[in-house]
């Protein structure tokens, strides 16, 4: 029986809406300012409706010609790094979750250590390693280090999910003669879809937005990624914030797209129905 707009439902929707308003207001202001020309200073009191409104910021960004190149660079790097990182992490997480071997926890703790050290302190040693491998000023140099940098978090996230998967299904497949790889790809991965989707969304965001390593490693203009391009829009002697906001909004669109695509996988009941009794 479905009751539309019960008091509880109204409360739920209005609470969500109020919270969403708080979440979104700064963003709305950002959008509004992106339509204002020559905004060096954000006005007080804040103007939410731009008047006069103009498309000049977006025009300048889109017509500059090189912005498309940076967008594609970032896209290539983020997609490749995300795919590799999530897959390798899933493998590692499965290994840690499904097997017991001496030294397992110490190995895992080593992995966690990678999460805890401030990334900026690793930049100089990483620069030397990248130079040794000839990866300086290349997009693959970015990809490889982004994969490495996200392995710890994703493995940590995915291990919990794999551990929660019921052992009975695994055993059933084993009795049927399935290899461990088949059990991994055919059983564990599909069941962990919500977690994999989460890992994908977060890794894509992290690699899309990463700045410090990209700045350090990339020198040639044609290899720049979007965060560097947006940073270049800020100047020591005055920044046009409308321009920066317009560029930032354009830069957000793929991340939102990835989010919308992968959040469909938060489907309830995948594991719920699989185990009876």
């Amino acid at each position: 029986m479905k009751k539309r707009l019960s008091p509880l439902e109204t409360l739920r929707i209005s609470t969500l809406a109020a919270g969403a308003l708080v979440m979104v207001t700064p963003f709305v202001y950002m959008v509004s300012t992106s339509f204002k020309a020559q905004q060096y200073v954000l006005q007080i009191p804040p103007q939410f409706i731009p008047s006069p409104a103009t498309l000049s910021n977006y025009e300048r960004i889109l017509l500059r010609g090189d912005f498309g190149q940076y967008f594609l660079n970032s896209l290539f790097v983020a997609v490749t790094a995300t795919a590799l990182s999530v897959f390798l992490s899933a493998m590692m997480a499965y290994g840690f979750a499904r097997y017991r071997f001496p030294g397992r926890e110490w190995l895992f703790r080593l992995l966690l250590l990678g999460l805890m050290i401030p990334a900026m302190m690793l930049i100089v040693p990483q620069f030397l390693i990248a130079k040794w491998f000839g990866l300086i000023d290349t997009l693959w140099g970015l990809i490889v280090f982004y994969v490495a940098g996200n392995l710890a978090l994703n493995t940590f996230l995915l291990r919990g999910f794999f551990e929660a998967l019921p052992q009975e299904l695994d055993d059933a497949m084993q009795i049927d003669g399935a290899t461990v790889w088949r059990r991994f790809t055919g059983l564990a991965l599909p069941l962990a879809r919500p977690a994999l989707a989460t890992a994908t969304i977060f890794t894509f965001l992290a690699t899309w937005d990463e700045y410090a390593w990209a700045l350090t490693s990339i020198t040639s203009p044609e290899n720049k990624t979007l965060p560097i391009a947006i940073a270049l829009l800020q100047g020591p002697k005055g920044t046009q914030w409308g321009l920066v906001f317009a560029a930032s909004i354009l830069a957000i669109t793929p991340v939102i797209a990835v989010f919308l695509i992968f959040q469909r996988h938060f489907v309830q009941g995948l594991t719920a129905g699989a185990v009876k009794g």
């Binding site: 979440m23 007080i44 900026m120 919500p194 800020q234």
Partner: protein
């Protein structure tokens, strides 16, 4: 089974990723630790003087480092509980499948997605002396002119930006709560709060552990927002560990001391995480 055979299968799964991790993260980490034992001369090929634990001795008596640490700690304490509470609350409210569900999810996720530099500027503007916050609350507080009020502003930014992250993780976790258990509890006459505490919380316990650990790490590692909002000002009073470390490394070019601060912070974070992991593992086996 022969001893080494227990390693074969897990090695196949773990080795590829771990090798990359070891080469590109662990090895640089070791080098960063080594840097803390030297007076690093920056230039490639220069001879660095070995100073042993001199940098560490300096760190222990460095008042400003302790101040920065207390700021990082305060930030962590102020931002972690609200992010968990709000994140979980929103995830629970969003459990119901409805056409509005993806729409709300995106709205709550937007702050996570927007760049730190941009949102810090916006919050600086919001918390300005004549900004929106003072206007809406009818106050005249000069938020960024004082250590404590500035920390409130920076924490508000951290909470606002982080709620969507933990919300996402909790949404995924809540999918894994067996509907059968909830039904059974309902039949037993449990009210929503009891169902929440006796069924849901235990079911997502590993996730709660994960979120708390990650948020503590992130809180102590706060950097970009502080650098962009106050850069440690006024007079260094809002410096956090990482802004202090960045200044030592890249402004004063003292790589050795910067590495020392990094090592000390990592050790602290590691110890805290180990304690938390132990706590959660014990609680979950109960």
């Amino acid at each position: 089974m022969p001893r080494w055979q227990t390693y074969v299968a897990p090695a196949l799964f773990i080795a590829p990723g771990f090798l990359i991790f070891a080469a590109l993260i662990l090895f640089p980490m070791v080098q960063a630790v080594l840097m803390s034992l030297y007076d690093v001369k920056v230039v490639a090929g220069a001879i660095n003087a070995f100073v042993g634990l001199a940098n560490y001795a300096r760190a222990l008596t460095d008042e400003h480092l302790w101040l920065s640490l207390s700021n990082s700690g305060l930030y962590m304490v102020l931002t972690v509980p609200p992010q968990i509470a709000f994140g979980l609350a929103i995830a629970l409210l969003l459990q119901k499948t409805s056409p509005a569900q993806p729409f709300f999810r995106v709205l709550y996720y937007l702050p996570v997605v927007t760049s730190w530099v941009v949102v810090t500027l916006l919050f600086k503007y919001l918390f300005a002396d004549r900004g929106l916050i003072n206007y809406l609350l009818g106050l005249q507080v000069s938020w960024l002119s004082d250590r404590w009020t500035a920390l409130v502003a920076i924490s508000a930014l951290g909470i606002w930006k982080g709620i969507g992250w933990s919300m996402m993780i909790f949404i995924a976790a809540l999918q894994g709560v067996p509907a059968g258990l909830i039904e059974a509890a309902k039949i037993d006459g449990a009210n929503p709060w009891q169902r929440f505490t006796n069924v849901t919380i235990p079911a997502i316990w590993p996730t709660i552990a994960f979120v708390i650990i990650m948020l503590v790490i992130g809180g102590l590692n706060v950097f970009t927002s502080v650098q962009a909002m106050t850069d440690g000002g006024p007079g260094g009073s809002t410096d956090v560990v990482l802004t202090y470390m960045y200044r030592q490394t890249f402004t004063f070019l003292d790589f050795g001391y910067g590495s020392t601060i990094a090592v000390l912070l990592t050790a602290l974070v590691f110890a805290l995480s180990a304690i938390q992991l132990r706590f959660f593992r014990n609680e979950s086996t109960a």
